[in-house]
């Protein structure tokens, strides 16, 4: 049953991705990226990565679509997306990235592999799974890892988000100042 669901979702992802590449309308493309994220979120839920699915649904399908539409509203009514000149170059770049990912995928440990890092007592992942209940006392291991074991990483991520807000504001406020000077 879930095998069928995997297949249907993965095929739907490919169809949406191909459709996205073909689209010339930016508004439709923004909506379709949101739909792509929603499909990803459903897929993450099926493979039991609920925290990732939650984030994908909230950020990918929800907020980033709205922000994309906000950015689109700054553009003129009809913006033509330029035609790709170097089609063979673009295609070979996409194929090269796909080949690299396919090459790297078998290095991931198989599901339930006894030699994977989670099942090695001398690796940190073992400690996260087996000791976090005693050390941190939080049932959701994802929260323990993100907020405590990997607290420095999350501090960095929070700073990245803050910097992103600052950068967008600086860019858009900077445009205003230049326009104001032109008017004088």
């Amino acid at each position: 049953m879930t095998d069928w669901l995997h297949l249907v979702l993965l095929i739907a992802l490919v169809v949406v991705a191909l459709d996205l590449a073909r689209l010339r309308d930016l508004f439709a493309a923004a909506m379709l990226t949101g739909f792509f994220s929603l499909l990803c979120a459903v897929y993450y839920t099926i493979v039991d990565a609920v925290d990732v699915a939650f984030t994908e649904a909230a950020v990918g399908a929800g907020l980033s679509t709205v922000l994309m539409l906000g950015a689109l509203s700054l553009l003129d009514e009809r913006v033509e997306t330029g035609r790709v000149r170097n089609r063979i170059g673009a295609l070979s770049a996409a194929l090269a990235v796909a080949a690299m990912m396919l090459y790297a995928t078998p290095d991931m440990p198989a599901y339930g592999d006894p030699t994977s890092p989670v099942n090695q007592p001398d690796r940190p992942a073992w400690r996260y799974v087996h000791q976090s209940g005693k050390e941190i006392g939080v049932p959701n291991i994802v929260t323990s890892v993100l907020a405590s074991y990997r607290g420095y990483d999350t501090l960095g991520e929070t700073n990245v988000i803050f910097t992103a807000g600052l950068a967008v504001y600086a860019l858009l406020a900077g445009v205003r100042r230049k326009r104001g000077q032109d008017a004088e």
Binding site: V66, T143, G151, T158, L172
Partner: protein
């Protein structure tokens, strides 16, 4: 912004639940999926929905641009400050064991504070991004 009556009524009905769900995700993140980041995004999404239906001017009256900027900085400072507190209590940076007498209590307190910082920071920054785009458009349309 003129909008549909159905849209107004339905969103007015939904927004309190969206905001409440954000707080649930924030404070229940220890036990269920989610945490500060997701809660912040949901909170911002609730306010953005309000802005989309009732106009950005109305949402500026609830959460002004200035508040989102200050909130974004405060969120990062709560996170970094938690680390400084553990430094002051003689432990390493962001070592929550030192925050209370019992290490597990310290971990709970540390995670709570850190997630609170992430939640405030993310909610404010997402709203700040949205405001930056929309107020730029308002300004530009007003000029031309």
């Amino acid at each position: 912004m003129q909008s549909d009556v159905v849209l107004r009524v339905v969103s007015k009905f939904l927004i309190p639940f969206i905001l409440l769900f954000a707080f649930y995700v924030q404070f229940h993140g220890d036990f269920s999926p989610g945490g500060g980041f997701q809660a912040g995004v949901i909170l911002a999404a609730g306010i953005i929905l309000y802005a989309l239906v009732f106009g950005v001017a109305a949402s500026f009256r609830i959460v002004p641009m200035r508040a989102t900027q200050i909130g974004a900085a405060i969120g990062v400072m709560i996170y970094g400050g938690t680390g400084v507190v553990s430094l002051l209590r003689g432990a390493r940076y962001l070592d929550y064991n030192a925050l209370a007498h019992d290490p597990v209590h310290g971990q709970h307190l540390g995670i709570f504070m850190v997630e609170l910082g992430v939640g405030i920071g993310v909610a404010s920054t997402m709203l700040w991004l949205f405001y930056s785009f929309t107020s730029h458009k308002l300004r530009r349309d007003g000029q031309s």
